[in-house]
């Protein structure tokens, strides 16, 4: 068959966002893979230096189309650390609950897209129907399906009234049953298993060396979960048993199982925190001028470890905002998985690290 180099170009049905891969294949085997990022580079870090903190947070929330709350929350936490501002406990609880609901919505979205990548459209339709449950909850809480703007500098924007809390509890219980069903489907469906088992191998050694983060590294038995190692917001208040979910399968199936179990864990965390929502106000006034200083803030986005480095120079505009999103950390690992794979497996292998191209390019 000879060597064919073909682009999975910026516009391709497998990639929901523009990224261009140059795949060199011999027959059906991938020999070399290369990725060209930068199609979605909106220079957000440079723009943050021209805007004050409030407008900067509005912009940073729109870095990723799916996990917007985690960016907004981490930006707010970074500024609060610079201001040495103590956020009321109720606001921390609300932020954690919305973060976990967003993790459920992101993981269910990924499970549907993964089904679509291997041609299993029924799973795609079923999962996205059930995702509507958590979308309704998020809309109930914040009025928007994505980009909720729940975390402001100094606390949370909207309060959770008792009947919202009860609706969320119902929703989470329903989601628990559905995740049970998908756990069954993902591990027993014959043709789906044939397409995900032993595909996109990433050994534990490779995962540690290439700096993989999130479910991609946890599926290769590297237990790094920022919620557990560096607890923030209300993650240290969780009473139920809370361990990072790992699996030693090291392939796409392992990542699928880790994400489904994490959805279940997120539901349980919500059910654990919601009834114990402490009383008190949800916001503290923050001064617009931030004193001189620098800080590094970590958090666990649905795709992995998210870093915000912020440096302030006393004015109301940040001197430097550095955002390192989890998808950028997973790209070296993705390319390592690709060589030796089948051409037919390239889309599912790329999708298995749950890449968010908008996050990668910022």
């Amino acid at each position: 068959m000879g060597r064919i180099t073909f682009p999975i170009g910026p516009q391709h049905p497998a990639l929901k966002e523009p990224e261009s891969f140059k795949i060199t294949a011999e027959g059906e085997r991938v020999v070399d893979a290369d990725v060209r990022l930068g199609y979605n580079h909106r220079s957000i870090e440079a723009a943050c230096q021209h805007r004050n903190y409030v407008r900067g947070q509005y912009l940073c929330e729109r870095i990723c189309g799916i996990c917007s709350h985690i960016h907004c929350n981490t930006f707010a936490r970074a500024v609060e650390e610079l201001l040495d501002l103590e956020v009321p406990m109720r606001a921390k609880y609300i932020r954690t609950i919305v973060a976990e609901l967003e993790r459920i919505h992101s993981h269910l979205l990924w499970l549907g897209v993964a089904g679509h990548e291997v041609g299993f459209d029924t799973l795609f339709m079923y999962v996205w129907r059930d995702r509507e449950i958590v979308q309704d909850l998020l809309e109930l809480i914040s009025g928007n399906r994505v980009n909720y703007g729940m975390a402001t500098i100094g606390g949370a924007k909207m309060d959770l009234t008792p009947e919202i809390v009860s609706k969320c509890m119902e929703g989470c219980k329903l989601l628990l049953e559905r995740t049970e069903y998908y756990k069954g489907v993902a591990t027993t469906e014959g043709t789906f298993l044939k397409r995900v088992e032993g595909v996109g191998m990433l050994s534990q050694q490779q995962a540690r060396e290439l700096g993989a983060v999130g479910p991609t590294s946890r599926a290769s038995n590297v237990p790094n979960d920022i919620r557990h190692d560096f607890p923030y917001d209300a993650y240290d208040q969780i009473q139920m048993e809370f361990e990072p979910i790992t699996s030693d399968l090291c392939d796409v199936l392992g990542r699928t199982i880790v994400r489904v179990l994490e959805t279940e864990q997120a539901c349980r965390i919500c059910l654990d925190l919601l009834p114990r929502l402490p009383e008190g106000d949800i916001q503290v006034r923050a001064r617009p001028r931030v004193p001189e200083g620098e800080t590094l803030v970590r958090c666990e986005a649905p795709r992995g470890e998210l870093i915000y480095y912020m440096r302030s120079n006393g004015t109301d505009k940040p001197a430097r905002v550095k955002v390192r999103t989890p998808s950028l950390a997973n790209w070296p690992a993705a390319l390592a998985m690709l060589d030796g794979a089948y051409v037919a497996d390239v889309p599912i292998t790329i999708a298995s690290i749950d890449p968010c191209m908008a996050c990668t390019d910022r």
Binding site: L37, Q49, L210, A329
Partner: protein, 161 residues
């Protein structure tokens, strides 16, 4: 927290053969070790053995005449560590640490794109985020570029009112 950090910092100081310029903490939970640019690879190797094996990212900050490069590393539990070096803006050269941590390729390419720091020994130092038709030698996150753009924006604002 800080006495744990002090203890670790003291231990790192005397274990490490080379010379650490200064060790402080950033916001109580981050250790910052400042090292000269030419010792960066040895110190990274030492730090990885010591326990901070995961390189979170590499941040570039333009500080007037110097570009500060911060390597943020972390292990299984706090405190995390940051290695800080400063490189003169005129001759921004640095040894690449991809030999120690292969995962650093993309972070170094990004700092090269936005700040113009040359990383020797880097396998493939081409464009990561900037478009192909971006002029050579123009590094958007350097202070002078930012001022230029701020001025251009101001004119644009006056123009269309």
């Amino acid at each position: 927290m800080s006495e744990v950090a002090e203890k670790i910092m003291a231990q790192v100081r005397e274990d490490y053969a080379g010379e650490i310029l200064d060790a402080t903490t950033m916001r109580r939970h981050e250790l910052v070790f400042t090292v000269a640019p030419d010792q960066i690879v040895e110190f990274t190797e030492f730090v990885v053995q010591y326990g901070w094996w995961h390189l979170s990212t590499i941040t570039g900050v333009d500080e007037g005449e110097e570009i500060a490069i911060l390597y943020h590393l972390c292990g299984e539990e706090p405190p995390a560590a940051t290695i800080r070096t400063a490189v003169p803006k005129a001759a921004a050269r640095l040894q690449s640490i991809t030999s120690v941590i292969p995962g650093a390729t993309m972070y170094e390419r990004e700092v090269h794109d936005l700040f113009g720091v040359q990383f020797e020994g880097h396998p493939r130092l081409d464009r990561l985020v900037l478009p192909d038709d971006w002029p050579e030698g123009v590094y958007p996150l350097r202070i002078e570029e930012i001022e230029k753009r701020a001025a251009k924006d101001k004119e644009e604002k006056e123009e269309n009112g």
